[in-house]
């Protein structure tokens, strides 16, 4: 049985920095991509003689912006989920309560039936 010819995997030197960053994002998520990019950028800037304080300031701005975006997005998602739940309760739930309000039996509170 003949085997179909396989493509040789690309050598590391063939892959550019962008595609390697793409791999990191694929395995570690966008967070890993951002942190690796910021770290590499910071080390590169320091290696080229940039002032440490400036490098740190820019890194803080980038990482802080990214984190703020994440936090705000997650907070908005929770707020939306709560709002959807409340809408269901006040809409459908209230309608059912109105429709079947005669179904409730008045049982003495604090005691089990039977």
């Amino acid at each position: 049985m003949r085997q179909s010819p396989r493509k040789a995997p690309p050598k590391d030197k063939d892959r550019g920095a962008v595609s390697q960053l793409g791999e990191i994002v694929r395995y570690g998520g966008p967070d890993a991509g951002v942190y690796v990019a910021v770290s590499i950028g910071a080390f590169g800037a320091l290696a080229n003689g940039a002032p440490a304080a400036a490098v740190f300031g820019v890194a803080v701005l980038l990482v802080g912006g990214w984190l703020a975006n994440k936090w705000l997005g997650a907070y908005i998602d929770v707020w939306k989920a709560k709002k959807d739940l409340t809408r269901l309760r006040t809409g459908r739930g209230q309608k059912i309560l109105e429709k079947h309000k005669d179904k409730r039996i008045g049982r003495p509170s604090g005691k089990r039936n039977g």
Partner: protein, 186 residues
């Protein structure tokens, strides 16, 4: 190494502390975001369960074959799941009690459900399923910040009828039995 060593020499103590602080902030924010995402997932699941419960409860409450006590329990569950403030109060009390329910004697509601299961197994199964959905919605909507919600949730799925009755009794003990004093949904 030739590149890193001169860089390390340039970093003074303050800079290293600042980097460590930045890492700590990154970790804390990641933890917070993960918690918020868990809350969102739980709230979305609560909404799905609540929608299923409302659908089943609406149908079952209209059926003449369902015993009045079961209808009453279902109706009270609709009230507890619909009123968030009251649901939260019931939840706080109920969470402490649910673990002790496993070895308690069978309740009257369970006896009625057993009788119904002999007469109409499909209807009994539908009621149990509705109670499970209602309890799921109740626990998830009120316990989305509670780390112990998973245990309560599993316990509630094992004995839905008994726990639905416990929830109902807790609600009545806290004031739902009084129609005039009933809290209104927000």
């Amino acid at each position: 190494m030739d590149m890193i060593l001169p860089m390390a020499e340039r970093l003074d103590d303050h800079f290293a502390v600042a980097v460590l602080l930045l890492l700590a902030v990154v970790y804390i924010v990641h933890e917070k975001v993960a918690k918020l995402r868990r809350q969102r997932d739980v709230l979305v699941a609560a909404r799905t369960a609540l929608r299923a419960f409302y659908l089943s409860a609406d149908r079952l409450l209209a059926l003449p074959e369902v015993p009045p006590a079961v209808k009453s329990a279902l109706y009270d569950m609709v009230r507890i799941t619909t009123n968030p403030d009251f649901g939260a109060r019931v939840f706080e009390t109920f969470v402490g009690e649910v673990g002790d329910m496993k070895h308690a004697p069978a309740t009257s509601l369970e006896a009625q459900m057993d009788a119904l299961a002999l007469k109409s197994p499909a209807l009994a199964a539908e009621i149990v399923h509705a109670m499970q959905s209602g309890l799921t919605a109740f626990i998830l909507a009120n316990g989305h910040r509670d780390a112990g919600v998973s245990l309560t949730f599993v316990q509630a799925q094992e004995q839905p009828v008994r726990i639905a009755e416990v929830v109902e009794h807790t609600a009545r003990r806290l004031g739902l039995g009084d129609r005039d004093g009933e809290p209104q949904p927000a």
